[in-house]
Symmetry: C2
DNA sequence: GCCCAGATGGCACGTTGTGCCACTTCTGCA
DNA sequence: TGCAGAAGTGGCACAACGTGCCATCTGGGC
C-alpha cells in the first residue's frame, strides 16, 4: 500500500500520542474547573508526566488545548487543498467547509464538542481566548497560499479573501458553539456564513 | 460651553494620565528591547510607580500597550457612530475609517507609528500578538451594535458584517505597518480593504 | 479642619516557565 | 546481538509573573 508519508517512526508516534493525551486532559480539566483553577501541574499529573516534560510539549498551560481548537480549521484547509482546481473559489470554500465539519475518517466525531466546551469557558478566561485567536491567525496565514493559485487577485486581495473566509469560519463555529444545535448543523452554518461573506455585505 | 461629559474629576484624569504614561513607557521598552527582555518591573520603574500599582492598571505587562493598539479602531467606531444614519453602511464604514486614521483633534499623530512599532516586534512575541487580537476581538463586538441599526440583516448577518469589516481594518493596518508607507497612506489602504470586502470576494 | 473613600506601596506567597544536569529509552550501525 | 550516539524524561533551582493582604498617604466632601 502506497504511503505518502515516509512513516512516522515509533518515537514520533509516541510523542504525538502524548501530545494528544495532554490536550484531552487539559480540555477535561478546563471544562470542569475552569482554566483559572487548573494548574499546569494538574494537567501534567492527569496526563501522567512530570511538569518539566509538560512544558516541553506546550509553551503554556492554555496552549495545551490548541490541537483540539485547531482541529476544525486544520481539516478545512486540508480539504480545500484537495479540492479540484477547476472549482470556483467560492464553491470550493463552501464544499471543503462542509466536508471538514462532517464526521469522517480521521475526524474524531467529538472534535466539535471539545471546541464547544472550551469556547464556553473562554468568556472569563482571556488567556484561553487568546489561544483561540492565535489558532485562527495561524489558519489565516495558512489559508493564503492555498487560495492564491485559485484566484488572479493581487496579493492584498488574496490576503483579504483568506482573512474573510477565515473570519466566516470562526464566526460560524462561535455561533454554533453558543447555541445548543447538534454537531451536524455546524457544517451548514459554516457554509452559510461563507456564502454570505463571499457574496458581499448587504447595504 | 456645553460639555457632554459631566467632567472627569481630577483623580480620574490623573489615573488616565498614569495609564497613558505606562502605555508609552511599555511601548518604548518593547520596541527597543523586545517584550521578552522587558520585565513588568522595568515598565513600572520607567513609569515611576511601584510594581504593585502597575498591576492595578494592567493585568499583564503585555496589556500595558493595549490602549495604544486599540486607538485606531476606537476612533473608527466613534466616527462610525457619528456618521449620519442615511449614509449606506458601505460608505459609512469607508468614510469613518478615512477620518479615524487621519490626524485630527484628539488623535495623536503618532498613534499609527506606535502601532507599527509594536506590530513589528510581535513576530516573535506571541503574548503581545495576543493583545492585538484581543483588541480586535473587542472591537468586533463593539462594532456589532453600531452596525445593527444601519442594516435590516438578521443577527447572524450583522455579526458577520461587523466581523468582516473589522477584519478588513486589521488587515489594512497590518499591511500598512509591514510596509514603509507614511502614516498618511493608512487611511486609503483601509478604505480600499473595506471596499473590496463589502463588494464580495472575487471568484 | 475632619473624615471617609480610594489610590499607592510593601510584603509574602503560589504559579509560571526555563536553564541545567543526570538518567533512561530509542535508533542506527557494525 | 551489542554498542554508541541521539533524543526523551525528570528533578532541581531560579527569575519572573500576578494576587491577596495590610499599612500609609492623598484628595474630595461636609
Amino acid at each position: 500500500m502506497p504511503e505518502t508519508t515516509p512513516r512516522p517512526s515509533l518515537t514520533e508516534r509516541r510523542k504525538a500520542a502524548t501530545q494528544q493525551e495532554i490536550a484531552l486532559a487539559a480540555a477535561m480539566l478546563f471544562a470542569e474547573h475552569g482554566p483559572e483553577a487548573t494548574t499546569a501541574e494538574d494537567i501534567a499529573r492527569a496526563a501522567g508526566l512530570s511538569l518539566r516534560t509538560f512544558y516541553r510539549y506546550f509553551r503554556t498551560k492554555e496552549d495545551a488545548v490548541a490541537p483540539l481548537l485547531s482541529a476544525g480549521v486544520r481539516y478545512w484547509i486540508d480539504e480545500l487543498a484537495a479540492t479540484p482546481a477547476e472549482l470556483p473559489l467560492t464553491e470550493a470554500l463552501e464544499q471543503s467547509a462542509r466536508r471538514a465539519l462532517a464526521p469522517g475518517p480521521g475526524r474524531p466525531a467529538q472534535a466539535l464538542d471539545w471546541i464547544r466546551g472550551l469556547l464556553r469557558v473562554m468568556a472569563d478566561a482571556p488567556d484561553l481566548l487568546a489561544v483561540w485567536h492565535r489558532v485562527h491567525h495561524a489558519s489565516e496565514l495558512a489559508l493564503t497560499p492555498v487560495i492564491a493559485p485559485r484566484t488572479d487577485a493581487d496579493p492584498l486581495e488574496t490576503r483579504l479573501a483568506a482573512a474573510a473566509a477565515n473570519t466566516a469560519m470562526r464566526v460560524a463555529l462561535e455561533t454554533w458553539a453558543a447555541s445548543d444545535a447538534p454537531a451536524t448543523e455546524a457544517a451548514g452554518l459554516a457554509a452559510r456564513c461563507l456564502r454570505e461573506l463571499t457574496a458581499g455585505l448587504k447595504v
